[in-house]
Symmetry: C2
Subunit: 313 residues, 2 copies
């Protein structure tokens, strides 16, 4: 299976494990990379010294390519980027910010830059900024997301028609059927988040992993659009947000209600009531917690089986 | 191309043209059926005598199978169903209501019943009610939609895993790439709405057809969730709804603002400012107005090309 994405990253399978806060440290990233995908360390929940430690441990655990995801709104972004350069990380996924700010700086150091976008405007902006590839992430994805609410089914062909860059699809992709669907739509690789959050190597709290398995149809919603839109499990904290809306809470009130450390509380410390539980709609299709390598192989096998089935139609 | 859907309806291609208010009268339905798909008359915007006339004209215009879509919340539903039986319509798509109410009554008259659902609960309920097939419609679809906001990418495999019925995918499907993607996800047919709304045979106003062509990324939103959630183009009326939300409008105030005849005003009479313009996210991928037969053949050709491309990967 060779695509521009396997070529760009020098990996066996065009499957990227999304860099997720509180879930994707070196254990998950190295497990995915060792199995032939591209593992990403999610730096958004890491202090600079933690990030450095995670990169070093990942390098020790795999000789395969891996990368770091950097949300560009992160306050310590300068320190994060400096560490990434010092530790000679080869691949960086940037998200939630302007692709013009860091792309050239990173590329001058020989780093491959991939920008995560959720709309057409930022896809074009990223191409103009000279990034090496795009992740186009649909409305169904977990965590922070775009205001256009464009789903993977509509977003991928729209981006494919508009830009020439190698294209990775994200949002709603947890098995080989969805991977095959994404390729039909024009993707050359997929980024998988939620499914890898529920793995043995995920650094999320066991309670959160169990909550992903328990989540069914309609268990999540994209909310807090007045701040940064985020897809959450509808738990007690989510209900508090809905109550605040009913009482006509403004941006400041919502911001105060969210407070600090909500996602850590939920996803890392396992408080399923008061924590923020960021996961995608595809959680409704996740029924177990397994080793990451097994998940990767299931996705690739499922892709092949889906292709065979369609050939016989 | 043979699937359980082509068998069930005795049609050449597993492509259904959605029954849409103000767009799909006998001209569109017969054009699609004559071209080898399944055309549907959208009865939701028709008085009973109009529906009878439309069915008779459709029968005169095609000897191929066609059907009628009936939203079950329609006030004159008894009259509609009586006319459907009297005029010997063979296929009925029911939507927006309880599948238990009419399924047996229709089937006893030899009518094939397909239920449109947007969540897992109603899929199972429809299977229990004994319908002959399902349309599973994702969040990106135009018009009225489910509260779970589950996208096509997540909904189709979820329904595929849970029910045994022949399955038609809807929402975000306007070309052969999306049709192929839907088949990867487990569908055996597709229902296409928005793309057929922008055809020569669509009975929509030319202004509305032009608005579909003009719609880009982020041009629509699922709103009015306090009433019945509906995906609309963000025009002046939509802005009025948003302003009402800012002023904490309740259900009654929203209902009064919506008033009566908004969709007719927009989609049939062409008032792009004050009318309700129901269309799917896939409108961003629609760039022209063409004959329906040409659209159908483009979808089928695009499906074949997508399959060939993946085989060569």
């Amino acid at each position: 299976m060779r695509t521009r994405i396997t070529e760009l990253f020098q990996i066996k399978y065009p499957v990227v494990q999304a860099g997720m806060i509180w879930c994707s440290g070196w254990e998950l990233a190295s497990a995915v990379s060792n199995a032939g995908g591209l593992g990403l360390i999610g730096s958004g929940s890491m202090y600079p010294d933690i990030l450095r430690e995670q990169i070093r441990k990942c390098k020790a655990a795999t000789d395969k390519p891996f990368g770091v995801n950097v949300p560009l709104f992160y306050p310590d972004i300068d320190k994060h980027m400096a560490i990434i350069a010092e530790e000679e990380v080869k691949i960086v996924f940037t998200s939630a910010g302007n692709p013009l700010t860091w792309t050239k700086w990173l590329q001058e150091k020989g780093i491959t830059v991939v920008q995560v976008i959720s709309n057409l405007k930022f896809a074009k902006k990223s191409e103009d900024a000279g990034v090496d590839a795009l992740v186009a992430e649909g409305f169904e994805a977990g965590g922070h997301n775009g205001r256009e609410e464009t789903t993977t089914m509509c977003l991928i062909p729209m981006i494919r028609d508009a830009v020439q860059l190698p294209l990775i699809a994200a949002g709603g992709i947890g098995d080989g059927r969805a991977m095959a669907a994404a390729f039909c739509l024009g993707a050359e690789g997929v980024q998988v988040g939620s499914r890898f959050a529920a793995t043995l190597e995920s650094s999320a709290h066991q309670n959160f992993k169990n909550a992903i398995v328990d989540a069914g149809d309609g268990a999540t919603e994209l909310t807090l659009k007045e701040l940064t839109p985020v897809r959450l499990i509808k738990n007690h904290f989510y209900q508090e947000v809905q109550d605040a809306y009913k009482h006509h809470a403004d941006r400041d009130a919502l911001s105060e209600l969210l407070g600090h450390g909500r996602s850590k509380k939920g996803m890392f410390l396992g408080d399923l009531e008061e924590g923020e539980l960021e996961i995608g709609q595809v959680s409704a299709l996740i029924h177990d917690i397994k080793p990451a390598a097994e998940i990767l192989h299931e996705i690739v096998d499922g892709f092949e089986k889906t292709m065979q089935k369609l050939r016989q139609m």
